[in-house]
Symmetry: C2
Subunit: 700 residues, 2 copies
């Protein structure tokens, strides 16, 4: 590990807070280091002892006569600051603070945490914690941890690293993975993240050659942009980043607030970020297990065509059900493929997809036939991935299948996944063989389908990002600051600003009164609205007239709305009348920008009209983004098919909508220090373009 090198690979560790009470965090950490064979120097610290567990024991950190890279602090909260001061004197690089009693425990703890950071920063000490279970570098036997991390079962060495804001729950993820045979590199609980946080750690793990996949549990971050960056870095590096976001519902967020005072943020924006970065969201322990296993093979389907073969028709059906919901397709097999299969599949089986090998097919005697069947299927150009259903096949048959599948998998660029429900205890040999070849064995056909779909989705997002890595920031330099923070904009000014940013708007002309605007050159019909900062609801005072198609009607309408406004709101400041081209037909969308505390500017688009608030049919993306991303975003809307024309209506100009959203995202990013919010309602999607008919830009 290049970053935080001497935190995770310390040459010498001091453990403060060892005691005869074996339940004390310090005691647990020291014993875990010894038990797991930590190779460096180890110094227990407690002024009461001369020696502890046969190691010389020191009165304080600065009493240690040798250099110390890392100090593990397990004393009660009240003693932490003094220990840290001693670390400062000793010029220690890193401290892991296991103790609780900080920010999470009230005003006194908040002050203690503030002081702690002050001392650390002054001395250049980097902190992990407080209020955490610590970390374990599984490869090097560095267990700077207490609690469940130090208890059996011992994690095996592997290439997955885990970072978690919640020690208790995060370690549950590690245990579930361990049970499925997944090995680990680093397991890190970050607790209060006073200094080192999850995102910094993920960044460091991306630079760690021994880490190939990263899984994280977070409740929130205050820096969504840093998460976006690390997500993109992970995708570019081809290291899958799996993330469980806690606190995604109202009640979950409330519980998180009382847990670590984390800012949980808007879940919709997290999900947008996941889609933009290929971060794989997980919401159940077995998803962590399945996807980590599947990624282990580093083979990704280039399309959605899947072939299913095996001995259980029911399993194939369950695979198909789950796969269809995630966009997989049980493709037709080519005639040539079916011919090849017919030579090795019993005649009471089936050579179309799903391929029925018939009961008992997996056996040592059938290995050559199975290999022919698998190779023929993988050679089919419509097949992008293969699922082999062993179902309840016993150990002998499973092992025979494993030998064939591992051999074929190593020569194939297409992923193979296996479903087996044979209990692990009855199937160890076969499972070991599969693991050797990185062929993932999933515990249900539906889980197998979702694993394949996850690989497919990951590749898609990755190809998009790698194809246009620079698109993200393209707008920034070009945009001039056309909005000033603190200076309110009228509707007309807002539309002018957006038009300048490349978003088509309906044409408006502001006039002081009738007889001052010629109708020539305007696209009829027109709308006339009174303009007054004192009249928010224009319709109610007769301040709006629609469908104006002649010069006479225009002048009459202008006079009328001004007169109505004066009569109903006598003291209103009236600035004039706004004459707008009326947009007709098309489909009403709403679009906008939220300049979010956590994520910065985010663009949101949704269905307009009566369904907007009821269906909450919206999609969002972190700004800036390109038109291809905008198309993806539109694809998430339930109302999306309407844009292609339903009930004989013409199709809307979807690429114009996408361009407008991308332009809006560039504007939002360029003006992130000036603009609080943009509301475009409605944004008309038309057969030949898109028009913002009404808009408001709200400055910061």
């Amino acid at each position: 590990m290049k970053t935080f090198e001497h935190l995770f690979e310390p040459r010498a560790i001091a453990v403060v807070g060892v005691s005869d009470d074996s339940a004390r965090p310090g005691t647990q950490a020291l014993r875990a280091l010894v038990k797991n064979g930590f190779q460096g120097r180890l110094f227990p610290v407690n002024p009461k002892y001369e020696a502890f567990d046969e190691l010389p024991c020191f009165a304080s950190v600065d009493a240690i006569p040798e250099a110390v890279d890392l100090v593990v602090i397990g004393v009660p909260a009240g003693g932490v600051l003094a220990v840290l001061e001693s670390c400062a004197r000793k010029k220690v690089g890193y401290a892991v603070i296991l103790s609780g009693g900080f920010r999470e425990s009230g005003p006194e703890g908040i002050e203690r945490e503030r002081r702690m950071l002050e001392i650390a920063q002054a001395a250049g000490i980097r902190l992990l914690g407080p209020n955490c279970l610590g970390f374990a570098n599984i490869h090097a036997g560095v267990y700077a941890a207490f609690g469940s991390i130090t208890r059996p079962p011992k994690l095996q060495r592997g290439s997955v690293s885990l970072v978690t804001q919640s020690g208790g729950f995060g370690y549950s993820i590690a245990l579930a993975c361990a049970e499925a045979g997944i090995g680990f590199r680093h397991v890190i609980a970050t607790g209060n993240e006073t200094d080192i946080d999850t995102i910094q750690l993920i960044n460091a793990l991306l630079d760690d050659d021994q880490t190939r996949s990263i899984i994280a549990y977070i409740e929130g971050t205050s820096d969504g942009r840093a998460l976006l960056d690390v997500g993109r870095r992970a995708l570019a590096a081809g290291k899958p980043l799996l993330l469980w976001k806690g606190g995604v519902t109202e009640q979950g967020a409330k519980a998180a607030e009382s847990h670590t005072a984390s800012m949980t943020g808007t879940y919709d924006f997290y999900r947008a970020l996941f889609r933009q970065t290929g971060i794989v969201e997980i919401q159940e322990l077995h998803e962590a297990v399945d996807y980590l296993l599947a990624f282990e093979g580093r083979r990704y389907p280039t399309g959605n065509g899947v072939a299913v073969m095996g001995v259980s028709g029911g399993s194939a059906i369950v695979f198909a059900d789950a796969g269809e919901r995630r966009g997989l397709h049980l493709c037709e097999l080519a005639a040539q493929t079916q011919e090849a299969l017919a030579g090795v599949v019993p005649h009471i089986g089936a050579v179309h997809n799903p391929i029925d090998l018939t009961a008992g097919y997996f056996s040592a005697a059938n290995q050559a036939k199975l290999e022919t069947a698998v190779r023929a299927t993988l050679a089919d150009p419509g097949v992008h991935a293969l699922c082999v259903n062993l179902a309840t096949t016993g150990q002998a048959g499973s092992l025979a299948a494993a030998q064939v599948l591992v051999r074929v998998a190593q020569e194939s660029a297409k992923p193979i996944v296996v479903f087996s429900s044979t209990p692990v205890a009855e199937n160890a040999q076969a499972l070991a063989e599969f693991a050797k070849g990185a062929v993932p064995v999933l515990r249900s056909p539906s889980r197998a389908a979702r694993a394949v779909a996850t690989l497919m989705d990951y590749r898609r997002v990755r190809e998009r990002l790698l194809a246009s890595p620079a698109a993200a920031d393209s707008g920034e330099a070009a945009a001039a600051a056309t909005v000033q923070a603190g200076k309110a904009l009228s509707e007309a000014e807002s539309k002018a600003v957006l038009a300048g940013a490349g978003i088509p708007v309906s044409r408006d002309v502001m006039v002081p009164g009738p007889g001052m605007l010629a109708i020539e050159g305007l696209r009829l019909p027109l709308v006339v609205k009174v303009v007054s900062p004192d009249i928010p609801h224009k319709t109610e005072v007769g301040g709006v007239r629609l469908g104006i198609a002649s010069q006479a009607a225009l002048d009459e309408a202008i006079a009328e709305v001004l007169a109505n406004a004066r009569r109903h709101v006598p003291h209103a400041r009236i600035e004039g009348a706004l004459v707008s081209e009326m947009v007709q037909g098309g489909f009403e969308l709403i679009a906008g920008v939220v300049n979010d505390e956590v994520f910065g500017p985010v663009v949101v688009v949704g269905a307009g009209g009566i369904y907007a608030e009821v269906l909450e049919d919206t999609a969002s993306r972190i700004a800036p983004f390109d038109a291809a991303t905008a198309l993806d975003m539109l694809g998430e809307l339930r109302c999306r098919p309407i844009l292609d024309g339903v009930r004989g209506a013409p199709a809307c100009d979807v690429s114009a909508i996408a361009s407008a959203l991308a332009a809006l995202s560039r504007f939002a990013w360029a003006h992130r220090d000036q603009v609080r919010e943009v509301d475009i309602n409605p944004l008309f999607a038309l057969p030949d373009g898109v028009v913002a008919a009404d808009a408001l830009v709200v400055p910061l």
Copy 2:
């Protein structure tokens, strides 16, 4: 087991098809019976042997000198009919046909299956299979089965029975349950279901005192009403029925068709049936495990208030996230409860919900405190269920918690569930203790939340059913047959029929020409439409006029639509003009009846207008049903909030909609032999009622 008694508890079994080849199904079955200690008489049958595995062997079934209850047939398909004829001569009661090569394998197999049933029915033999893994009565050691059922691990005795149309996949469910410590009564694979089918078996299991919960995997049934009935029986009996429906997507159904030629049916209607019967749908193996464990306690939350306590804040957050999505609520705890908790929870913990007991709380030393905390929480009137998060707590702490929780659970009517991620191998003692008290231990907090929600939902549906068991069929006797099969109905006739059934319709008057209808007594405005069997698209020929509000306009409109129709479609048969009261305002729904091949009449309701086809926002229920069920159904619609009034619109009369849907369901049921389809489009939901503005009743 009362029904099928001598199938599942045979006094004597003959096994046909034993051989030196230990892989033969017959050999496997015989050996499984011996190995599992079958207590009755056992007769191997094969003319080649005098004795088999030290048992006297017979040349044929009718050569056996004693009475035989059950014959297990494992010979190749071609020999099955002869064996069955021998069974007929022997007057055997039951046969299990393990052999494949019937309906699933082409025309020859179809004919063989037909003949097989003919022989069996003539002789009064009941058949299980063919093309099945057989069954095992775990309590009595009757293993009339081959393949994975007979292989290790041996299922433990318990109170769950499994019925599955797919042996391979169904047994995967059993294995997953067995791994989680769930014991079984019967495990039955039904194969082609030529005679005995899944529904008959579920019915029999409802009468089996040793079966307390039933789980089934089905791909389809041809008799949806039988499934409805058995679902209702199970609910009334308080025996949870869990069901995995395979083939629920387009591709899944296609795979099922090639698997067993099952009729997969319309998934929406299955889901309606599940909601009407409390059948618990499962779609993943761990759901089977979790819900069976949860039901074991037979305690159901009377509301959605849940308290969460434990040592892991992250776990509480994950519980809250998953719970909110399923309708659970982390309730506020009463002041009295919080006071009681404050006495036993460390001050750095939390006594509000979720309750933070602080790390390391679960221990032998803390048992009395934990008991106080648990009792105080369960005594809170807002708490309907409790989740205790042990998370990664080790064996000693888990066992301490188990002893307390089991003791309290036995005295509490409120369910307690536990989340533990400690590996089973490290936690056997604690898990045994929990199992003893039927306190379910779930493997993730989200799974714990869904288990609680499932218990809650089950109770709700059960209370509804028990409160109005007769509501289901109330309409049948009352309705007269007002529709004749084969005789088409016009729009006007259709509306009249529906009005007669109690569904409010807009008033229509058919007139031959202008000057023949006085406007008095009609609610204005009116709509005029030409009526002609030759003009399906009236608007396109100028055959519709809206918004008519005077006598003169009415007569002019009638004359105009007739003239337009004659001009545009010169040879059209024109029956006259239909004058209708125009419905204004309100919200457009669509409603209808599908007389389904599998389920009989089903009522469907959905959002109308442009979103109808795009959103597929529909809900359905099997007819007949009451207004309370109709309200549930409306509650499933995404557009449901619109009915309560949005954007200042008045609320619609939801109870009138429900009454109309219930009336429609009674009509559909009463006319199930006459009506193929009913389409009401639109059905206007108004502030003061509901009106079918257009309708068509399509006879069979």
